[in-house]
């Protein structure tokens, strides 16, 4: 993947497919690290599936239902000196608190760090394709020269829209600008 934001899009698609009502995408940049957390309340994975998801070559069985998404993210993290972990609980194991949490740490000063890229486009693409699913996105940058907090919650947007689908073009465009403005700041104050 050319951008981490594409890995985010790919991994979050798994959450949606797992029936998650809500998926949180958190990006925290501090010092020279970037931590990515994707957490959903979907159906979760059994221990056996979980073992296989991070390594597509773990076994030769042909019945596998998992793909290359997580191995690619793991590689992207590890090649910077970081790591990726996956925790999951199935609905059967815990009907109250189930889902999957993927956490990946990247070192941004590594020559092999993949830039985050257009994360706003990723969020808009997710909402366009899955207007009935909720997404919470938060991007925090805490650096000496940069202090940014970008946040979006489709539950709040959904409440305002009152039945109008979230993937209406004007709504998607509003969300895109809403996020972009949080990155660049309002234009009229500078």
């Amino acid at each position: 993947m050319k951008e981490l934001s594409l890995n985010i899009l790919d991994i979050t698609e798994n959450s949606v497919k797992a029936g998650a009502a809500l998926t949180s995408i958190l990006v925290d940049e501090e010092g020279n690290t970037l931590k990515l957390t994707i957490e959903d309340n979907g159906s979760g994975m059994s221990e056996e599936v979980l073992k296989g998801v991070t390594d597509p070559f773990y076994t030769t069985r042909t019945t596998r239902k998992v793909g290359m998404g997580l191995p690619l993210l793991k590689l992207a993290a590890e090649q910077t000196g970081g790591y990726m972990t996956v925790q999951s609980k199935t609905r059967e194991a815990d009907p109250e608190d189930h889902g999957t949490k993927v956490e990946a740490l990247f070192y941004q000063d590594s020559i092999d760090f993949t830039p985050l890229g257009d994360v706003v486009s990723t969020i808009c693409t997710l909402i366009q394709g899955h207007p009935d699913t909720d997404f919470y996105f938060r991007h925090k940058i805490r650096k000496p020269d940069k202090d940014v907090l970008v946040e979006m919650d489709t539950r709040q947007i959904r409440e305002v829209l009152d039945g109008v689908p979230l993937n209406e073009y004007e709504v998607i465009k509003w969300i895109e600008e809403y996020l972009n403005e949080q990155y660049t700041g309002p234009h009229d104050t500078e």
Binding site: M1, M68, G69, G129, V164, Y169, I172, E177
Partner: protein, 123 residues
């Protein structure tokens, strides 16, 4: 700054429109968005279709949606166009520029852009 009040206005405008639009969507544009598609560049292709279909006022008859792996990963990004009463058209190795052209010629003009279809690549 974008405000929720502005979103309220969009809602008011859309609520009328949504009613008008019921029963439409004769043409479906489906973009493959699995790992293979995303890695090959499907995100800008999808976004170009969404943008052009809406800005060319085709959204009453054309819906743009996403799907998983179509099974021909080597041809990604893959876009399928379904139209009632017509054979499915499969566009392969798409880019945002090609998407723009497909909207213009195929969706607006009714002419399949043969050189981007899977048939052109296989023959």
């Amino acid at each position: 700054m974008k405000s929720l009040a502005e979103l309220q206005k969009i809602k008011a405008r859309m609520q009328d429109k949504v009613v008008l639009r019921e029963g439409s969507g004769d043409v479906r544009v489906v973009v493959g968005m699995a790992t293979c598609g995303i890695a090959a560049g499907a995100r800008p292709v999808l976004n170009e279709f969404v943008k052009d279909v809406n800005e060319e006022n085709l959204s009453d008859k054309v819906t743009v949606s996403q799907t998983g792996c179509i099974g021909i990963c080597q041809y990604e990004p893959v876009v399928e166009i379904f139209e009632a009463g017509k054979e499915k058209v499969t566009y392969v190795k798409m880019t945002a520029d090609k998407a723009k052209e497909v909207v213009e010629k195929h969706l607006k003009g009714g002419q399949v852009v043969e050189q981007y279809t899977i048939g052109a690549y296989q023959s």
